[in-house]
């Protein structure tokens, strides 16, 4: 099997956006999530803000407009395939599907997203705009 530094199951331990030096906790103060890079080069990831209130009705079909917006803007799930380079480092991912329709069929390469593995941690950095980056730290389960 080809060398692969990212393969495994990862638990989210930190997530924030750095907007020109200002920290924004876009998934709340206790962000949660899981990310799996399989050995057979599939990827699936979900992150969520566990502190948002549940739907008062208890039913997905009976959310309020605010509840629907809060759900969409406080979570995302994606899946697809990925590749690694000759050193086993993350190269790119093809998102086949997502809970966010905008992410379907997008390719995210290292020019947008990097995954740096250091021991049992993986630091994910996504460029959003000039001076604006999303940082997610994962810990190997």
């Amino acid at each position: 099997m080809k060398k692969n530094n990212v393969a495994g199951c990862w638990k989210l331990i930190s997530a924030y956006i750095d907007d020109h030096g200002k920290r924004i906790d876009f998934l709340g103060l206790h962000p949660k999530g899981m990310l799996v890079f399989t050995d057979d080069l599939h990827i699936i990831g979900i992150f969520n803000n566990p502190d948002i209130p549940k739907f008062v009705s208890g039913k997905l079909s009976d959310g309020t407009l605010e509840e629907y917006k809060t759900a969409v803007t406080n979570s995302v799930g994606v899946y697809g395939t990925y590749s690694v380079d000759e050193n086993g480092d993350y190269l790119e991912q093809l998102i086949e599907g997502s809970t966010d329709p905008h992410l379907n069929h997008t390719v995210i390469g290292r020019d947008q997203l990097t995954e740096k593995v250091e021991g049992n941690r993986m630091i994910e950095t996504t460029k959003i705009a000039e001076g604006v980056t999303e940082h997610i730290i994962w810990e190997r389960v």
């Binding site: 999530g33 979900i46 697809g80 905008h102 389960v141």
Partner: protein
Amino acid sequence: MKASKNILLVVFASLILFISVAGKTTNSSDKIKNMKKNKVAGTWNLISGYLDNHGTHIDILGPHPAGMLIFTEDLHFMVVVHNPDIPKFASGDRANATPEEYKTAVTNSLGVYGTYSVDENGDFGEEHVSGSTFQNMNGHTRGKNEIDVKVVGSTLKEIQKIADGIGVHLDWERAK
């Protein structure tokens, strides 16, 4: 379309109602033993998803449902299912969608992750939801009474029981 959308809403709502807190625990040695013959471990692609309401099939995730399910060897699971045919947000920005777009996004997709166990035969035992894109699911446990999982060759057939004669059928194919 509207009718099937409404059914989808009912299904998801019902799914939540049927989540129960099973308290069964498995000790570590059993877990290791069962892991060796884990039949569900692997990566699975969704090939079919519908609601069977007393024999009537309803496409709850549209006519082309898509998704991925992964059961890891170390007993974690992740699943994302969605209707790939829903329109993108007109604004191109999920922070600025219309109320209808937000509702459509939530009711046409679901992401869930957590841990799971298998029984002594390597069959699905139960799953504990650590987190979800639908926050009401967080922290719940679903066992064989709520989800029936059968692996036949390269296909995994999952039935989520909603009520008597009503169930969500998800068919998965092992990814190549």
